[in-house]
Symmetry: C2
Subunit: 157 residues, 2 copies
């Protein structure tokens, strides 16, 4: 797949505006950075997401990972010109180590999933599911928390 | 187990102060309501937790459930006079229906878990795990989202 970078940047800008209009996302300072065709990168400041131990709040980490998966599904829909609402359906999260600095998250398509199949199913049935993966990295660049989550898109009529 | 209500209220007050000092918890307006000996009740306003569809943000729901389980573990430690840090280790979340009003959450001990065993293990080994369950209720009082999560307590030296 060839990536039209100006189209990606325009879709990211629209998505940033949607994100900024969501109060919890704005309050926790979630920021959508870039998309390289495979991985969506996001970050959030530690100070807005810190817990009682001076590390990243588990709720903020799971929220950021859930949101990063959602954002990548939304981005793909926009790039395909599809109009749909996207809901998270389920998730599994493992917390491995504390995060003591800025929260850096990445989301990508789970193995054996296909954007083509997802978009074709959505166009055909008005509804489609897709499995995503995400993580939050610690300062060493290794995963501090991982998420596997399923999302449902429902076409807007 | 007899519940000393004044002791519970004092522990809840301490916990509310810890919660209020956590920026993401304060920003999302998570409030600890009461504990009846089995279930810890919490709530959060919809307006601070709303998504692009006018319903509760999935990230806020998972964050609120994660926090409610954490809070109940913290509460039990305080009631037992134990000093420990509590970390979420993993969680599984199912989202069933949208929440269109105030987020009301409850957390309780998972089946076949025991506070007595947890506290004894913590005292003996300085570390213990416990499985919790939580949900967010919709306006009909049925679960809109459910969480099963494992928490680790590490004794403070």
């Amino acid at each position: 797949m060839t990536l039209d970078l100006s189209q990606v940047e325009a879709a990211l800008q629209e998505l940033r505006a949607v994100a900024e209009a969501m109060p919890p996302v704005a309050a926790m300072g979630f920021r959508i950075d870039h998309y390289d065709g495979l991985t969506l990168d996001m970050h959030a400041p530690l100070d807005a997401n810190v817990n009682d131990k001076g590390t990243a709040f588990g709720g903020s980490m799971t929220s950021l990972m859930t949101f990063s998966g959602w954002s990548l599904v939304m981005l793909q829909l926009r790039l395909a010109g599809a109009q749909a609402d996207v809901f998270v359906a389920d998730s599994e999260v493992r917390y491995r180590s504390p995060v003591i600095a800025e929260l850096r998250a990445q989301a990508w398509l789970a193995p054996e999933q296909s954007w083509g199949t997802f978009l074709a199913t959505l166009a055909e049935r008005g509804r489609a599911r897709i499995q995503m993966q995400a993580h939050v990295l610690n300062t060493e660049g290794t995963p501090a928390a991982t998420l596997s989550g399923r999302y449902v898109a429902i076409a807007k009529r």
